[in-house]
């Protein structure tokens, strides 16, 4: 009670003082009010008294009142209205400082009713004579936009803001740029900020004169400008490179961002690029002598830059050597970059450093250093032996976490250099008991299984692990199962009991489906065909890649567009940590090269795509690759929120769950899950069904359609599917319309060429000659390879067959429907125009296969709303193999085939002549004729055509 009393008393006292006549007392009281406000005490009751102080013509007092007002206006909207008049009055004050203060404050009062009254004063201030007021008003438009977008449009403030881009004062320009780019980022659907050549020119001029912060705003905006061509990009680069010498690191990094982005457009072999590389390195290095926090930001960005363009810093290894007093976050980042820059020339130095680091105190850092030694071994072959020896030295220290980390990397070294270092296995085995981390245990078990024949007591060792099987981590359990099966295949006589034990254990006593399924498969394999089992389980393993921990390329490209920003620090796309708003996915510009002819359609596609991808599903791949959790700045505190977020994402993209699993491939005999996601490349050629297709089936079908096939000899057999489904000819031009000339035709794909096959029949009474043919521009750029050649005149009642090979590199124009083709044919009588439809499967190219990982990544990269689902009817009740073959003949490639929940899953790709990929998933329930079809592509326009093609192919005989 007493406390409430005293509080009341305090407020009462302040009230009295605020209403005092003396200015000094008022001021002191106001200070006390603000102090209470800061600590979080509620002083909103004083609202009317504080408002009363507003009238006083004293700048300092006014500022205090405004501070109060900004804090409490929202809770007391009725009272806040009382302030409107004062604002309006202040906006007309002769002092520019007061005018600016008023316009600055009123934008911060987020009360609907007040906002309306602010438009007029704001409009005036945007045209104020004093630049200080104008620069404040420019920001106020952004504030208003945050409160009420419609009001900003209605009042035409955006245009006023755009006018300020041409202001004579660079500071005003900078603030206008900042406001405009924030507005356009918030509403990408409307063209708020038209960044064109002249605007950029203005900005570049202002750049030289405005404050450091203004330079950051302008550079960040220029980064969003798409240069017209390489010359445009080059000239902007030239104009901004002097900024690299700015003392403010934000200016430097934003300059680097623009340069990195525009470099994409410039010929990489040109002298200009080489020069730029030389200019880029020193400022990046200099960033390492700034405050540690800025160093951290710089290092995270350098990490990206080195991955994208490793040449820039290739000679700067030494500056990344860790200093004893560096904060831990700087140390960890430096270490990462050191490894990326390691090569055979500097390996000796690097290794000496790493050895030094491995004896430091910080556990995370030491672990990373140890892991780095292993990465060196894998990356630089000549140094592998030295690295291994260093690791062995470290294992001898018996420091628990060092030993575990070393074993994990040694496993990778074994993968890279099989049968080379097995002499050290004995040393590793000595440390078996000290391993308590799942990854280390799994690695050790893998090593034992892999080299079981050289370890005398391998069975004892593995049996030891088996005792506590149920308590082990899933990763360890899977590894143990595989290792014991390997052991059994190598030493069948002594280990029969052991293998039975483990198989019983995993098939009967575990709830984990992966484990159980793998157990069943092994069991079945072993019981039916031990020889096959041997071939599968002990198959030679594909090589592991040299660089590990690389960011997934599309993610890397996106992050390059965000250099300097939070996304580049987190190494995550913005939509994973920014809420709600629409975020445009940024992309590196695309250099036009040899494929000039496809340019239009691809830019058209990317534009479409950008508009559709307002909500982009993030690539989980990035976080999968990011396997050291300790590296992520979000680790400790935010992990829960991030995880749930990613979890839901994974659920949404669950259409391809089993492709995500490395387990699948390990079932097929490639023990990939030890390497985890570090070795994604190994999954390539596991899709067996494709290879089963023999040429003989191809020939059978060849005979079915292969009536003509004239110009090519037997060599065509070398292609797995020379000819695709051909529809019967239909009449394109009737005799009536063609003034006696009747044309019927169709399209075929023969020997991977598009062929237009036509019959010309003369139904008139006179002979025809001077034939010519032209195709209008069309969606796929189809154009005749050579002109139509009919040498002899076409006599009455005569029919001649014509074959015209088409190229797909002609000029492009989008047609509706996409496959529409406009043809003009001329003869001595007239010109005839007609339309026909090119069946889309004719445009499927034979080399449209992609590997599993690419498939998976592409699938994930395509937003969910681009997915199209359909129910296909398997009319002829084809078996799955037949179905696959049939599709294969038409260049629909099956990437992989698996069974999930008794359903056959087929993953297929199609590549069109213009390079568009279409990804398809077929879900077939045995005994059911309905096939669940789902399709993803970056260009959804083709989806319906693809469905038609499937239906056509499946229903054909």
């Amino acid at each position: 009670m007493a406390e409430i009393e005293s509080k009341k008393g305090e407020i009462y006292e302040l009230k009295a003082e605020l209403n005092s006549d003396k200015r000094e007392r008022k001021k002191e009281a106001l200070k006390k009010v603000i102090a209470s406000m800061t600590v979080g005490k509620d002083v909103s009751q004083l609202f009317p008294d504080v408002i009363n102080c507003m009238q006083i013509d004293n700048l300092e007092l006014k500022k205090l009142v405004y501070l109060y007002l900004m804090n409490y206006a929202k809770t007391q909207p009725e009272m806040a209205i009382l302030a409107v008049n004062t604002f309006a009055k202040d906006c007309n004050d002769p002092s520019p400082l007061i005018r600016a203060l008023a316009v600055r404050t009123m934008g911060c009062i987020r009360v609907e009713k007040i906002t309306e009254h602010l438009c007029e004063p704001l409009r005036k201030c945007l045209k104020d004579e004093d630049p200080y007021v104008r620069k404040t008003a420019a920001v106020c438009v952004a504030k208003l936009y945050d409160i009420n977008q419609q009001l900003v449009f209605d009042q035409g403030f955006l245009d006023l803001l755009k006018d300020l881009l041409s202001d004579s004062n660079p500071m005003v320009v900078a603030n206008a740029v900042a406001a405009l780019s924030e507005i356009s980022e918030q509403s990408p659907q409307i063209q708020v900020f038209d960044l064109n050549g002249p605007t950029v020119n203005k900005l570049l001029t202002a750049l030289n004169e405005c404050s450091e912060w203004g330079q950051v705003f302008i550079l960040d905006t220029i980064a969003n400008y798409p240069p017209k061509d390489d010359k445009d990009a080059q000239s902007i680069c030239e104009r901004i490179t002097p900024r690299l010498a700015h003392a403010n690191s934000a200016v430097v990094l934003s300059t680097v961002k623009v340069l990195m982005k525009f470099l994409e457009l410039i010929d990489p072999n040109s002298e200009f690029v080489q020069n730029l590389y030389r200019k880029l390195a020193p400022p990046l290095v200099t960033l390492l002598s700034t405050e540690p926090e800025i160093q951290y930001v710089a290092l995270r960005n350098i990490n990206l830059i080195v991955q994208k363009r490793s040449d820039i810093l290739k000679n700067e290894m030494k500056v990344f050597f860790v200093k004893y007093n560096d904060p831990i976050y700087v140390k960890l980042e430096k270490l990462d970059i050191m490894i990326r820059l390691t090569n055979s020339n500097n390996i000796a130095q690097v290794l000496a450093e790493l050895k030094e680091y491995a004896t430091e105190v910080d556990v995370d850092f030491v672990r990373k250093a140890v892991r780095a030694i292993g990465r060196c071994a894998i990356k630089v072959e000549p140094a592998a032996e030295r690295c291994v020896n260093t690791l062995i030295d470290l294992i001898q220290t018996k420091v628990n976490y060092v030993v575990q980390e070393a074993i994990v990397v040694i496993k990778d070294i074994f993968r890279k250099y099989p049968n080379k270092y097995e002499s050290i296995i004995a040393i590793l085995c000595e440390n078996l008991d000290s391993l308590d981390e799942p990854e280390a245990r799994a690695s050790m078990i893998w090593i034992v299984g892999e080299y079981a024949e050289r370890i005398d007591n391998a069975d004892e060792l593995l049996e030891g692990f088996l005792d506590g099987f149920k308590d082990e981590n899933n990763q360890v359990q899977l590894q143990l199962l595989t290792a014991i099966v390997k052991l059994f295949l190598k030493k069948p006589t002594e280990t029969q009991e052991l293998v039975t034990k483990v198989l019983t254990l995993v098939t009967q006593e575990t709830d984990n489906p992966d484990l159980r399924d793998r157990g069943y498969i092994y069991w079945r394999l072993l019981s039916t065909d031990p020889k096959a089992a041997k071939e599968v389980v002990l198959a030679e393993k594909p090589l592991i890649s040299e660089e590990t921990d690389l960011l997934e390329p599309t993610l890397l490209d996106e992050l390059i567009c965000h250099i300097g920003s939070l996304a580049s620090v987190y190494h995550k796309p913005p939509n994973t940590f920014v809420e709600g708003r629409f975020i445009m996915k940024k992309k590196l510009p695309f250099r036009t090269g040899i494929h000039h002819e496809y340019e239009d359609i691809t830019t058209m596609q990317t534009n479409q795509q950008q508009q559709q991808q307002q909500v982009v599903i993030s690539s989980n791949v990035g976080s999968l690759i990011d396997d050291f959790d300790i590296l992520g700045p979000m680790s400790n505190t935010s992990s829960t929120t991030m995880n749930t977020f990613e979890h839901t994402q994974q659920q949404t993209s669950s259409a391809i769950p089993n492709l995500l699993d490395d387990e699948l491939s390990s079932i097929l005999g490639l023990d990939s899950n030890v390497g985890g996601h570090q070795t994604p490349m190994m999954n390539t050629n596991t899709s067996l069904p494709i290879n089963r297709l023999t040429t003989s089936t191809g020939n059978d079908l060849d005979d079915l359609f292969g009536d003509i096939n004239l110009h090519t000899g037997p060599s065509s057999i070398s292609f797995s599917s020379p000819n695709t489904l051909v529809l019967p000819k239909e009449i394109w031009v009737s005799a009536q319309k063609g003034k006696g000339l009747e044309i019927s035709g169709t399209f075929a794909r023969r020997n991977n060429q598009i062929v237009m096959e036509m019959d010309f029949t003369n139904k008139a009474l006179q002979s025809m000659n001077d034939f010519a043919l032209q195709l209008n521009r069309n969606s796929f750029g189809l154009t005749p390879l050579q002109p139509l050649q009919i040498l002899n005149p076409l006599f009455p009642n005569q029919t001649i067959p014509i074959q015209l090979i088409l190229n797909a590199n002609g000029p492009i124009m989008k047609m509706d429907p996409l496959t529409n083709l406009q043809i003009a044919i001329k003869n001595n009588i007239d010109i005839f125009y007609f339309n026909c439809i090119v069946p889309i499967h004719i445009l499927f190219v034979h080399n449209g296969e992609i590997d599993k990982m690419t498939f998976l990544q592409t699938w994930q990269d395509i937003p969910e709303n681009n997915e199209i689902k359909y129910q296909l009817q398997n009319i002829n009740n084809l078996s799955i193999d037949d179905l696959q073959n049939k599709l294969r003949l038409n260049n629909i490639h099956t990437i992989t085939r698996t069974i999930i929940e008794q359903k056959e899953m087929l993953y297929q790709t199609i590549k069109l002549t213009n390079g568009i990929f279409i990804l398809i998933e077929l879900k077939i329930t045995p005994g059911n004729r309905t096939i669940a079809f789902s399709l993803k592509t970056k260009v959804p326009d083709v989806a319906n055509l693809i469905i038609q093609a499937y239906e056509l192919i499946l229903s054909s005989n």
């Binding site: 600055r104 920003s565 620090v569």
Partner: protein, 452 residues
């Protein structure tokens, strides 16, 4: 953009809280306290993301400064801003401490209102801010002064106001270099660089234009043999020596005295485009003290001192350390404030010291022997030997931290030389020769470490 700025004391109590954006609530203040200041495990990164809000923070003595944002903002800019804010506060009221912040909170709010608008950093130059945000708010500003202020804040020369007058035009240049070294036990230089700063104190009237010349290799010798030597500077600068005073005088100096600067950065007053095209450093300086230039060199650095350590572990309870220091500069010069830190294991129980010069002490709180010498002439040598007794119980291996050294020498170890600084003021009647100029060189130790 920045959503809010908070300042906390070491207990996590808020001293200053200024929110700029609606998406930052009061709970953000608490989130940072709970998750970072009060966190059981010290946070390992200067940026943390808590519930989709990013917190950028830095610490000065006991005070936490924290900027908050919900958008994907420019992280480098945020940290630059926080550092700038610290500079501004220091120049207003000195040390960043709880007491100073509490006593000046109104001033800080006023500053925060001025230097951040809706989270966009605005002109944050101390000189200009001081012209209209004063601690004694009573000072009434005339109308005329107000327009001066606004043009100064937004002007092209945002760092200097008009109408400055001095009876005596004077300027001081300090070339301050910190030498960084990492040397192996065997005396092999693992990495070394000089981080130099040119600090200028100018007391000049009017709006003077200054031109600054240094003995950089490119400026001195326009036809460099190998452009790779000085990577950042392009050598397409104009070669007509008549317009460029640096080349005329440059021919008299030999190329030997020219140094290769790896990279340099300038205060915002320097016209960067002019530097890029003509390679001349020209600027209108702020009034008073400012950092004109920062540079970095890695080649031909004369290391002022060499430390030669010898550590012998005798059994598990005894160690012998011998450290020799050699000075490596002209005998006429004198190095000062020399301090050598020799780390000792944490289980040290007794240390016997013997040194030829200066004073040496074992500081158990720092786990180090600190050997201080007030001064040491060039080309001299001194030695310290220590016997360290250890407690046997400590099982952990001692990971010998490097021996570090501090010193100050009256020359620039990189060889950096100021060749000229010319002052032109066209409106007022004083010329370059009327200006009094002082130049001083100081070489300091940065991280100067030798592994033991």
């Amino acid at each position: 953009m920045i959503g809010g700025v908070f300042i906390y004391n070491h207990k996590g109590e808020v001293l200053i809280s200024r929110v700029y954006r609606d998406d930052i609530g009061r709970n953000a203040v608490d989130a940072f306290r709970v998750n970072v200041i009060h966190a059981r495990q010290q946070s390992r990164f200067p940026v943390v993301n808590i519930a989709r809000t990013s917190f950028f923070y830095t610490k000065r003595s006991n005070i936490w400064l924290c900027a908050v944002a919900k958008q994907n903002i420019n992280a480098a800019m945020v940290f630059e801003f926080l550092n700038k804010m610290i500079d501004i506060m220091q120049s207003y009221f000195g040390k960043i401490s709880e007491e100073n912040i509490k006593n000046n909170f109104v001033l800080i709010y006023e500053l925060l209102d001025e230097i951040l608008d809706f989270g966009y950093p605005q002109n944050s130059d101390t000189g200009v801010l001081k012209s209209f945000i004063t601690q004694q708010g009573v000072r009434p500003i005339t109308r005329e002064e107000q327009t001066n202020v606004t043009s100064a804040v937004t002007g092209q020369i945002g760092w200097r106001r008009e109408g400055i007058k001095y009876r005596r035009n004077e300027l001081f240049l300090d070339v301050i270099e910190s030498v960084n070294l990492l040397m192996s036990q065997q005396g092999q230089v693992l990495s070394t660089h000089v981080a130099g700063r040119v600090v200028m104190k100018s007391y000049l009237s009017g709006m003077p234009e200054c031109k600054f010349g240094i003995n950089d290799k490119i400026t001195v010798d326009n036809r460099t043999k190998n452009p790779l030597d000085s990577t950042n500077i392009n050598n397409n600068s104009t070669t007509n020596g008549s317009t460029n005073p640096s080349t005329t005088t440059g021919t008299t100096t030999t190329t030997k005295t020219a140094i290769a600067i790896d990279d340099c950065q300038f205060h915002q007053c320097v016209k960067l485009s002019k530097f890029e095209s003509e390679h001349s450093i020209s600027f209108i300086p702020p009034d008073g003290e400012f950092e004109l230039m920062r540079y970095r060199t890695t080649k031909d650095i004369s290391l002022p001192f060499r430390v030669i350590p010898l550590v012998r572990e005798i059994g598990r309870t005894k160690m012998e350390v011998k450290v020799v220091v050699k000075s490596n500069f002209k005998p006429t010069l004198i190095g000062q404030k020399i301090e050598i830190r020799i780390p000792t294991p944490s289980n040290t129980c007794d240390v016997q010291l013997l040194c030829m010069k200066g004073k040496a002490k074992y500081k158990s709180s720092d786990n180090a022997i600190v050997w201080k010498m007030k001064r040491m002439g060039g080309m001299k040598e001194s030695q310290l030997s220590a016997e360290i007794e250890l407690l046997p119980n400590d099982k952990k291996k001692w990971n010998r931290p490097p021996i570090s050294m501090n010193f100050e020498v009256p020359f620039a170890p990189s060889g950096f030389k100021v060749r000229y600084l010319k002052v032109f003021e066209h409106k007022l009647n004083y010329s370059d020769s009327d200006t009094v100029k002082w130049v001083r060189y100081i070489g300091k130790s940065g991280l100067y470490e030798t592994r033991s």
